[in-house]
């Protein structure tokens, strides 16, 4: 059975801090790993990773995948209160049938 585990479960930081969110996975037929941000309802897409060692960046957010060790990290630098959300990691094993982790709840205090 495919499995995705995220850590930590929750995190409280202050504005300006840097955070690292972790995602480890076990899947039978890996195609890609995706990160989503969920603030209220709809998860919004952040990154899709398919190759090891290639960092993807978008502003203060970056992510990298290690297919040998089966994990990914999401980094957020200079955090802002607007970064407060649940961050979801998901693995796509075939055709976008995603297996999600339980999420990391990030709270950024002013």
């Amino acid at each position: 059975e495919d499995k995705v585990v995220q850590s930590p479960l929750s995190l409280v930081v202050h504005e300006g801090d840097t955070v690292t969110l972790n995602c480890s996975y076990e899947v039978t037929n890996f195609r890609s790993l995706l990160w989503y941000k969920q603030e209220k309802k709809a998860p919004t897409f952040l990154f899709m990773l398919t190759s090891s060692g290639i960092e993807k960046k978008s502003g203060r957010l970056s992510s990298i995948l290690d297919k040998k060790e089966l994990f990914s990290i999401l980094n957020i630098t200079a955090t802002q209160t607007g970064d407060s959300a649940v961050y979801l990691c998901a693995v796509n094993n075939a055709g976008n049938m995603l297996t999600f982790g339980g999420g990391t709840r990030l709270m950024v205090k002013p």
């Binding site: 995705v4 995220q6 195609r31 890609s32 995706l34 989503y36 309802k41 709809a42 998860p43 919004t44 897409f45 899709m48 979801l88 998901a90 075939a94 055709g95 976008n96 049938m97 995603l98 297996t99 999600f100 982790g101 339980g102 999420g103």
Partner: protein, 115 residues
């Protein structure tokens, strides 16, 4: 350009009743997936439909069923509702591209409460 739209946004049902949730994908997307998200957990895959055919099914009982229409919109039906069916139901659409598929784009979800 409209994203994925779901209706209704909220719903309250009684145990034993049946419910139908609706989803319209992004224009041009032919694949629709349904997920259940219980409070405090990540979404769980229920179904995927592509070109009106079921392409995948998660570990859910037969009380859950779905279909996709010629215009690629989709319905999720749940019969004989249980209290444990209370959750946020998310619909996602995607489209094939060379070498794979686009990322899944999610709708705002339907919050179902079973009392």
């Amino acid at each position: 350009d409209a994203g994925v739209t779901q209706s209704p946004t909220h719903l309250i049902k009684t145990r034993g009743q049946q419910v139908t949730l609706r989803c319209s994908p992004i224009s041009g997307h032919k694949s629709v997936s349904w997920y259940q998200q219980v409070l405090g957990q990540g979404p769980q895959f229920i179904f995927q439909y592509y070109e009106k055919e079921e392409r995948g099914r998660g570990n859910f009982p037969d009380r859950f069923s779905a279909r996709q229409f010629p215009n690629y919109s989709s319905e999720l039906n749940v019969n004989a509702l249980l209290l444990g069916d209370s959750a946020l139901y998310l619909c996602a659409s995607s489209s094939p591209v060379y070498g794979g598929e686009t990322e899944a784009f999610f709708g705002q979800g339907t919050r179902l409460t079973v009392v």
